[in-house]
């Protein structure tokens, strides 16, 4: 009888182990709507973005660390990176304010930054930036290398996020300030061919991160009351269903979902804003130029 019980227990354990879905990787999700800083406009749907994205990745079998508002800090992101499975893909998603700094301010170098909670304080009359709480794309890359993370995908739904996409190998057909109304349309093949060889002969280095950015380096990113999400995030969520699986192989890669989001933003958001003469709200997403692409989702999990 004891043997029978032991064998039954073993079979049950094996059955449980077999039916457990494989953890595909780690998703670290940050969304900041409420900054609680005088002089900084709060956002409306970034926390909703974070919750929806966290649910999406959890449903797809990722281990998720999700932080909203006052928990969405750089320290929490770095702590979650330390906890991530280093052998599997690590996805970092951020929704909140983005900053393009033109000149050195409060000791912060010019460049592009994500602004997690606590990025600044307002002791009286003006903002004081805290660089240690701000997040440049290089900060994530340095931390990832330090932790020996080789597979890291950064998704940023914030203003000027195209600045995080440092395309040094290839040339994107989408300009950093896309606006067809003002003649800043997609770059032609001939222009791309004129630029691409120069990149080949001057490039050196290796890009660890794959970056999907909601907007160009000169563009703002927008939320929509109709979607109750950021526009980019809305189409990202919708593409994670079967919609973005363009080659119908059952998997959605970073490239496929990027193209899907770009097409949707142009077809629905940009055409509407253009018809309403809000040309400053026309924008397109950007992606980094790695040779690799990652399988993010199963089309029918």
């Amino acid at each position: 009888m004891k043997h029978l019980l032991a064998i039954t227990s073993l079979c049950l354990c094996l059955a449980c182990a077999c039916s457990m879905p494989e953890i595909k990787g780690t998703a670290i999700v940050l969304g900041v709507s409420l900054y609680n800083i005088t002089g900084v406009t709060n956002l409306t749907y970034c926390d909703d973005d974070a919750r929806d994205i966290a649910k999406l990745f959890a449903d797809q079998g990722y281990r998720v660390y999700s932080y909203t508002d006052s928990d969405a800090t750089r320290a929490n992101l770095e702590h979650a990176l330390e906890l991530a499975d280093k052998t599997r893909p690590v996805v970092v998603y951020y929704s909140g304010h983005g900053l393009k700094l033109y000149s050195s301010t409060d000791g912060v170098a010019p460049g592009f930054y994500m602004l997690p909670y606590g990025f600044a304080e307002n002791p009286g009359t003006s903002l004081v930036l805290h660089r240690e709480n701000m997040l440049a794309i290089k900060d994530i890359e340095i931390k990832a290398r330090e932790l020996s993370i080789k597979h890291c995908i950064v998704i940023a739904d914030c203003c000027y996020s195209g600045g995080f996409v440092d395309n040094m190998q290839g040339v994107s057909a989408i300009p950093g300030d896309y606006d067809p109304v003002l003649g800043k349309d997609l770059i032609t093949y001939a222009e791309l061919m004129g630029t691409a060889p120069g990149r080949f002969f001057t490039y050196s280095g290796n890009s660890l991160l794959i970056v999907l950015a909601a907007s160009g380096s000169e563009e703002m990113s927008f939320e929509s009351g109709a979607y109750e999400n950021g526009v980019f995030t809305e189409y990202f969520l919708s593409g994670a269903s079967t919609n973005a699986d363009s080659d119908r192989d059952g998997y959605i890669t970073t490239s496929e979902i990027y193209l899907y989001v770009a097409q949707c933003m142009n077809k629905y958001w940009n055409s509407t804003t253009q018809s309403q003469s809000n040309t400053e709200q026309i924008y397109l997403p950007h992606i980094s130029d790695n040779a690799r692409e990652y399988i993010l989702f199963e089309a029918n999990p």
Binding site: K24, G25, T87, R88, P89, K150, H151, N167, Q169, G170, V171, S172, A173, I174, L186, Y189, L192, M193, A196, P197, R199, F200, Y203, G205, N206, S207, S246, T253, S255, E256, Y258, L259, A262, I287, D289, N290, A291, R292, E293, Y294, I295
Partner: protein, 184 residues
């Protein structure tokens, strides 16, 4: 001038291919690709090529090709190398050898400057490829101004941070408009 004996109806002929020849080729290319610090993964390409070859037993070539690279097989860590279309032009050298056997051989080396276009990321890249090739013509498929050839090619693609190499299987139609056949 090259003089190649051609067997037709048990008689011996001299085959002179002429100084200019044109080729149309199609290739299937199983390759392995890798990015620095990442895994070696297999990838498949198909390619079409047009060439003009000047010279008899030694000469030079000018060629244009276009191809399609499918995405690689995925790695265990859920990544793969992207697929792309590519277009390029190149130059090369060749050496033709006509042994007195049932097969003629040609050896060539071409270097191409290529542009690859990734339709899913709307991005263009430049890369360089080297293509050593061994071309074989069975006598039975060699007519006066036309011959069908088979080839093995060993392409090496140098992207900025990404490399591919492998073996290609090529079928080639060689047109030799100035060829002559003389009865021995």
């Amino acid at each position: 001038m090259i003089c190649v004996p051609v067997s037709v109806s048990s008689q011996e002929f001299l085959y002179e291919p002429g100084i200019v020849s044109l080729s149309i080729a199609g290739s299937a290319l199983p390759l392995v690709s890798f990015e620095t610090e990442y895994a070696l993964l297999s990838q498949f390409m198909v390619e079409g090529e047009l060439g003009i070859h000047i010279g008899n037993n030694v000469g030079g070539s000018i060629a244009a090709h276009a191809g399609l690279a499918l995405p690689s097989l995925p790695a265990r860590e859920l990544y793969r190398y992207k697929g792309f279309e590519y277009y390029g032009a190149g130059i090369g050298v060749f050496l033709r050898q006509y042994p007195l056997s049932a097969w003629y051989f040609e050896y060539s080396l071409q270097a191409f400057a290529d542009f690859s276009w990734q339709p899913e990321t709307l991005m263009m890249y430049f890369f360089i490829s080297l293509v050593p090739e061994i071309i074989c013509t069975p006598k039975m498929l060699n007519w006066e101004t036309l011959s069908f050839q088979g080839a093995l090619r060993f392409p090496i693609h140098f992207h900025e941070n990404f490399y591919s190499f492998g073996i290609g299987f090529t079928v080639r139609l060689l047109i030799t408009p100035f060829a002559k056949v003389k009865l021995l």
